[in-house]
């Protein structure tokens, strides 16, 4: 009986273990086959981290190697409010807020409110200055930590801001070089897949797949920091003195179109873009247009000389005005000059004379030369947000437009367009594409930008004649205030009315400008100064010329340009 019971029990036991073994085997087989991928994935997720390796944004330097913009990792302060307790579990949020507030320049209540917002994790302040981060790190505060974040820094403050642009919080370049060369500067992010231990350290024997990041290219600009600084200093001073609404200055190398400096007022500090006025973000040298006024007369005369319509000694009888298209166009203050040569038209800035020259040239040729000089189209400078200006199609010209456009009204230009046109006059007749990036350095080495001649606009002979006429304008004419001791200067003033929304002109407000180059022979720089609504009104060209002088004096001294006059 006992043996029988024993055998039965044994059989049950055997059957039980057999079934359990089969079930376990089946389960094991399941996890080893069907469920393997899921298990592997879950196990992998626990130890593997898949990170995007950020590429280092390229450095921007001036033509002499001075750093204009670079990126560095700064510490961002984050908080985990749930961990802000002492050893006994008492709430430490008020103490943490009180300790941080004076360092961050924030009120404790604001920090306390952030800690009590219910967020499990929050940034207290991003991209802290290093000294601030060091002070906070030294405090024994619970629930705080640092995370590295890249920050674009501009060591020269607002100097060059309009050329450089800025980088927003998402790391995307905006405006200027940062915007135009966003792709080249930003590089390509890499990827790093590694196994990590519970302390978040890489396991040496674990999985490691790395695709290295490709850092952004470094750019060297044609901008000269010293000249840029002088230009911005003088622009800020004249805008303040003249209580002007704004202004712009462009300095070009006429030999190849390299931009030496660009300034625009109002401007901004790239480190405080968030608080900048929208108007301050606009680079008036390329994104703003104005009627150039008399600075266009050399263009009209260059076209007529090049076409053979007039010579420097061609004369006409000035009666103080010209009638064209049934409209009477006067000289400034309707002054009568009598017999006048073409050279004198420039030296005295006679509107009637410009109309005379334009009439000799004809609308079709004037329109063609305006386009040849690059007006009404982008210069293709390598900066973002350039505008075209307006030169209406010939078919839309009224007869009077030939007259008004001859002295710079009825069309609009950018300061940069005017500078490139004057550069063509200065360099013997070639229109260069202005450029800001002199070279780009990537893993393959340095790639230099070759100057680009867009077209020949006027002959060398016409250019030489214009240079002489413009030099006379400065030496003995209306632009005498721009003359420099020791250097020959060629240039022309401009005073233009400002169009209003209703199609007429704004009363008693003007745009004053001066465009010139120095030395007149073998010129080193073209400078265009434009002031919007200076308080000197019709005499606004004088502060514009003074600004030109100050910039030219500084730049020539800095560049050690030998005087060409005793």
């Amino acid at each position: 009986m006992t043996a029988t019971i024993s055998h039965t029990r044994l059989r049950f036991l055997f059957a039980f273990f057999t079934v359990v073994s089969l079930l376990l085997s089946a389960r094991l087989a399941y996890w080893q086959t069907v469920g393997r991928a899921d298990l592997l994935s879950r196990a992998t997720d626990q130890v593997h981290s898949d990170l995007v390796v950020a590429a280092q944004r390229g450095v921007i330097r001036d033509r002499n190697g001075a750093i204009l913009a670079t990126t560095v990792e700064l510490r961002s302060l984050y908080a985990i409010p749930g961990l802000m307790t002492d050893r006994d579990g008492h709430d430490q949020k008020p103490a943490v807020a009180a300790a941080l507030a004076p360092i961050l320049g924030e009120r404790p209540e604001v920090l306390r409110a952030a800690f009590d917002s219910g967020a499990e994790w929050l940034f207290v302040r991003r991209r802290l200055p290093e000294e601030t981060a060091v002070r906070i790190a030294a405090l024994p505060l619970a629930g705080l930590g640092f995370e590295m974040e890249p920050k674009r820094l501009y060591p020269n403050g607002s100097v060059g801001a309009q050329v450089l642009g800025f980088v927003n919080d998402d790391g995307v370049g905006q405006y200027g070089v940062e915007g135009r060369y966003a792709a080249e500067l930003s590089g390509t992010p890499g990827r790093l897949v590694v196994a990590r231990d519970p302390a978040n350290r890489e396991l040496a024997l674990g999985l490691r797949t790395a695709v290295p990041a490709k850092n952004g290219d470094d750019l060297s600009l044609t901008i000269d920091l010293a000249v840029q600084n002088a230009v911005e200093r003088e622009l800020a001073a004249v805008v303040e003195r003249e209580k002007a609404a704004g202004g712009a200055i462009v300095v070009l190398d006429p030999k190849d179109g390299a931009v030496l400096a660009i300034a625009s007022s109002p401007t901004y500090d790239p480190a405080r873009v968030g608080s900048a006025d929208a108007e301050a973000l606009r680079n008036r040298a390329i994104s703003w247009t104005y009627e150039p006024g008399s600075t266009m007369k050399p263009i009209t005369i260059a076209a007529a000389l090049d076409k053979g319509a007039v010579t420097p000694t061609t004369s006409y009888q000035d009666v103080g005005y010209a009638v064209i298209g049934g409209r009477k166009l006067c000289n400034a203050q309707c002054k009568v000059y009598g017999p006048t040569t073409i050279t004198q038209i420039l030296a005295r800035s006679q509107n009637a004379g410009a109309v005379f020259v334009a009439s000799k040239l004809g609308a079709s040729d004037l329109n063609a030369y305006l386009h040849a000089f690059g007006f009404g189209q982008r210069t293709a400078v390598d900066l973002s947000a350039e505008t075209t200006g307006i030169v209406r199609p010939l078919a839309e010209w009224y007869p009077v437009d030939l007259g008004t456009i001859s002295f710079g009204q009825g069309l609009s230009v950018t300061p940069l367009q005017l500078a490139t046109a004057y550069a063509a006059i200065a360099n013997g007749g070639n229109l260069y594409r202005p450029y800001v990036v002199a070279s780009r350095r990537d893993a393959d080495g340095e790639h230099r930008t070759a100057p680009v001649v867009v077209r020949r606009v006027i002959s060398e002979e016409t250019s030489a004649t214009l240079v002489t006429m413009l030099t006379t304008t400065v030496d003995n004419g209306i632009a005498n205030a721009a003359s420099l001791k020791g250097y020959s200067v060629a240039g022309k003033t401009g005073t233009a009315q400002i169009p209003s929304d209703d199609g007429s002109y704004v009363d008693d407000a003007y745009i004053s400008s001066f465009a010139g180059f120095v030395p007149a022979v073998d010129p080193r720089m073209v400078v265009v100064v434009v002031l919007e609504k200076p308080q000197s009104k019709l005499l606004g060209t004088v502060p514009a010329m003074n600004t030109f002088k100050a910039i030219a004096t500084d730049a020539l001294r800095y560049a050690r340009v030998q005087p060409d006059r005793s």
Partner: protein
Amino acid sequence: MTFAQAVRAPQARRVPHRLHREAVAHHRGASRHAATRIRTSSWEIRSFLLASGVIVACFLVVLLYLAQATAVSAASYEAQRLAAQRDELRRQNALLVIESARLDSPARVETEAQRLGLVRAATIRVVVTEAAAATR
């Protein structure tokens, strides 16, 4: 057979070995049986030693592997620590370079010069090299 028995066995069998030589003359059958036993014992010892050797060798290999793996891990952690230190030093260097650029900024130099009471030179005398050479 225990390890102690196995170690003792060869010595323990020397006396029977001598007895065996004496008995050869008298009992050839017994001697054949004894020889078989000796061969069997010898094989067991060798097998045991071989197995023990393999086990010890495996143990040493595993120990070596673990030692190497531990050393690699430790070196890896050290490399990570050094890499982090290098990155931090590079970051500090970058901050210093920026600070240097800020201090070299013409705008800052001008402001500092004004603060020190320096003024811009009104005129600068220039010696034209060609003219100077012609007078010699």
